[in-house]
């Protein structure tokens, strides 16, 4: 068990670093204008939105309502801490009282 754990730690570290470095090497080789560059520029937003969609899809009506509250606060304040606080408070209250 002891050595198994160290194999996991070192193996996952090597694999993860290889993935991170490969992304860098791939990015350096893609053209810096045209469709590839536009796609790469749009990638952050699309990836984060995919993650949010997945997280909300996995949840239920309470998560959807709390997500709506967070979105409203984000639209009104554009503040990261306030949006996080509102979202956490909303889900906590919804789960406690509904």
């Amino acid at each position: 068990m002891m050595t198994e754990t160290w194999i996991l730690i070192l193996g996952l570290a090597a694999a993860t670093f290889a993935v991170r470095l490969s992304g860098y090497l791939l990015g350096q080789r893609l053209p810096d204008h045209g469709p590839w560059a536009r796609g790469l520029q749009a990638l952050p937003g699309c990836l984060i939105l995919s993650l949010v969609t997945y997280l909300l899809m996995r949840g239920g009506p309470q998560e959807w309502a709390a997500g709506t509250v967070a979105l409203a606060v984000a639209l009104a304040t554009r503040s990261l801490p306030l949006t996080m606080a509102a979202g956490i408070a909303a889900i906590y209250l919804l789960r406690a009282y509904f």
């Binding site: 570290a13 791939l26 790469l40 990836l47 984060i48 990261l80």
Partner: protein, 237 residues
Amino acid sequence: MAIQNISARPPAFSQLTSGLRDILPLAAGVAVYGLAFGLLAAQASMDGLQTGVMGTIVFAGSSQIIAVERLAAGTGAGAAILAGLALNLRLLLITASLRDEYSGRPWWQVLLGVHLATDENWALMHAMRARGHQAGYWYLIGGGIGLIAVWVLSTVAGASFASTVPEPKALGMDFAFTAAFIAILRSLWNGSTMLLPWAGSVAIVLLAGLLTPMDPTWTLILGGLGGAVLAGVLNDD
């Protein structure tokens, strides 16, 4: 050339410190997950040293959780590494999209920069830049330093004091990152050219998630790539 480079990016230190400061709310969310991961690590008979080393050299929370959960479930190290690796393929897209930040830097800054790239500081950097702030390589590093410190400390604390760790869901903290990413999306939105790519990403994730038994890891990658392809093909400014 060297002198030019230095004068072209003077506020390296101030970007480092603002990256460190701005990451704090996200780091608070990471700390809760770090405690929860430490609890899992303790259940998989990992000690504080192993937990700390893992957090430092892997530094990818969700993949650590999956891999250790698999190990605790009795799969061998090989299968656990594969599960963690699959979850990390997303990081390939993240470091690829950071190419302008890494470009022209000495090798040690590239290696440090790719290792410290995570969803949180990467997304925050893009959000701040979309709002007109100066946020580049050192902003990313500042956020990464804050995150790795909090991650290692909280996971080791969780592994060491496993019996008193709270459950994230009971505190509503499992929603912390959903809310954070919603705020970051608000900052990244910069006009109607993004409507179709973003709608495409949502549609792909919904369809793949509802209609296919696809693993969420692949759903996310497909959604991100699909939206990016739409932006590449459709927008032409």
